[in-house]
Symmetry: C2
Subunit: 283 residues, 2 copies
């Protein structure tokens, strides 16, 4: 449980930061917002999601919990520049979608009297900005805590408290390597596939012939081009390996088709059908 007296400061009131402010304020927490965009601050105040806010990094002073909802690189820069404003004992957490690099870089520079506990709310979507904030999306989403051996139980529990206050469906713990490996496959490879499928040819003239399958397959081709290249680069090694393995698999199938190997194609389909069944029931 987060004490009602704990000052929680959210840095970056975009889609995720805004949703955090909304959900935490609804849970009775005392939320401060920092954003360079005055409109985002005004909107959050009007909605009653923050009690105070503005562009000034000094607002972070006195916070028991600081949540960065910035893009990974900006997060690292912000901490480098303003961490002297943190109150001693602050727990710092974040929302970035890739972890190994952020954890390494933050821990390399962070004051010893502030503790960073990495977390990833798996609830991204195509839209950007606080006007699309909607904390009810968390109720169907996963929250992954990504501790290192250096993290204390107090920090891990704080991340768990945040996830519980926001009512995430599932709270998990993974190592940084497990997390980034999983994200490389489940999220990043899927996005590369959807983006590539839309790039291979201008298929917009085929709209009237497409059914739900194609729409479902390509939904995530609508993507924030300012965020995702950065996320991909932060996970470059794993993502390259995933793309290479997938391309090899596509080529294997292609060769079965060229060889008219019906039995080989059947086996691939039997495997995919069996494995996909595991995903039919939502956890």
């Amino acid at each position: 449980m987060i004490s009602k007296d704990t000052k929680i400061t959210i840095i970056g009131l975009g889609l995720l930061g805004g949703s955090y402010a909304q959900g935490l304020s609804e849970a009775g927490c005392q939320v401060t917002g920092i954003d360079i965009d005055p409109e985002a601050i005004q909107y959050a105040k009007e909605q009653g999601w923050i009690t105070e806010g503005g562009p000034d990094p000094e607002l972070v002073a006195g916070s028991g919990i600081v949540i960065s909802a910035l893009y990974p690189k900006t997060f690292i820069e912000w901490v480098g520049k303003y961490q002297h404003l943190f109150t001693s004992g602050t727990i710092l957490t974040d929302v970035t979608g890739v972890k190994r690099n952020v954890i390494r870089e933050i821990n390399a520079i962070l004051r010893p009297d502030v503790e960073y506990i990495a977390a990833h709310p798996m609830a991204g979507r195509e839209s950007q900005g606080i006007h699309f904030a909607d904390c009810t999306r968390f109720h169907q989403a996963n929250y992954i805590i990504v501790p290192t051996a250096a993290n204390t139980e107090r920090a891990i529990q704080t991340a768990r408290d945040i996830a519980e206050a926001l009512k995430f469906r599932y709270i998990g713990i993974l190592t940084p390597e497990e997390h980034d490996n999983m994200i490389g496959f489940v999220s990043q490879l899927s996005h590369v596939i959807a983006v590539s499928l839309m790039n291979v040819t201008d298929c917009t003239d085929l709209v009237k012939y497409t059914g739900d399958s194609f729409r479902d397959l390509t939904r995530i081709a609508s993507i924030n081009e300012n965020l995702w290249p950065e996320l991909f680069l932060q996970n470059q090694d794993y993502l390259l390996a995933e793309i290479d393995a997938f391309v090899k698999e596509m080529q294997d199938f292609r060769n079965l088709l060229e060889a008219e190997d019906v039995e080989g194609m059947k086996q691939k389909m039997i495997t995919s059908t069996i494995r996909r069944k595991a995903f039919d029931v939502k956890p």
Copy 2:
């Protein structure tokens, strides 16, 4: 308009044949069913979808319209074996998902006093068998008529009448080449991608971390392994070309990632986002 006196015979009462029998009988048509499975015949009779039916090919006699809902190869074999039972002047149509080869093979053997008009109801799904038949699925689906230069207006109109009786959302006309090219991209390539994504690694332990994106992307990995290899082989040239183009596009993206070319990845994402917008509104 199909006259109520026209005898319509459906060969093959599976998912699609059963849905046709249901929809056409509801539209007031007189439907006969032919299937080697006595249970499918019994079910169709119990539902009131056919007035007569059985395994005997001779049931086709006296039909004004014959609809094959068999797999492509079985369809061609059936016509070769039993077309002497057709009544002169019969319009023959079908539901197969690839067209150039079927059209060529049927027209090469068909009696000159029977006319084949190719058609493709784009309403497949993962489930098989008449118990999953549901003609309301057609109301959201496309029906493509695929005539050749040899087809008469009467035959094309008959296909259109069937589609209207079944209340398809959209009725289109494409050449066999246009149709197979479109299907190679919109449907077949998508299925190869989903099947390959599930084959590349056993990801069933990741179920609890997957959101809607991954589920949407892989839904069509549940696939009828007895039908699809046959459909792929019937469209081998186009599908190989689609796979090759897609793999090349994936490799292009991979190389941008390896070269840390943020601007190049951004451009791909901007293109995919713009093109995907065309699919946001259902036609």
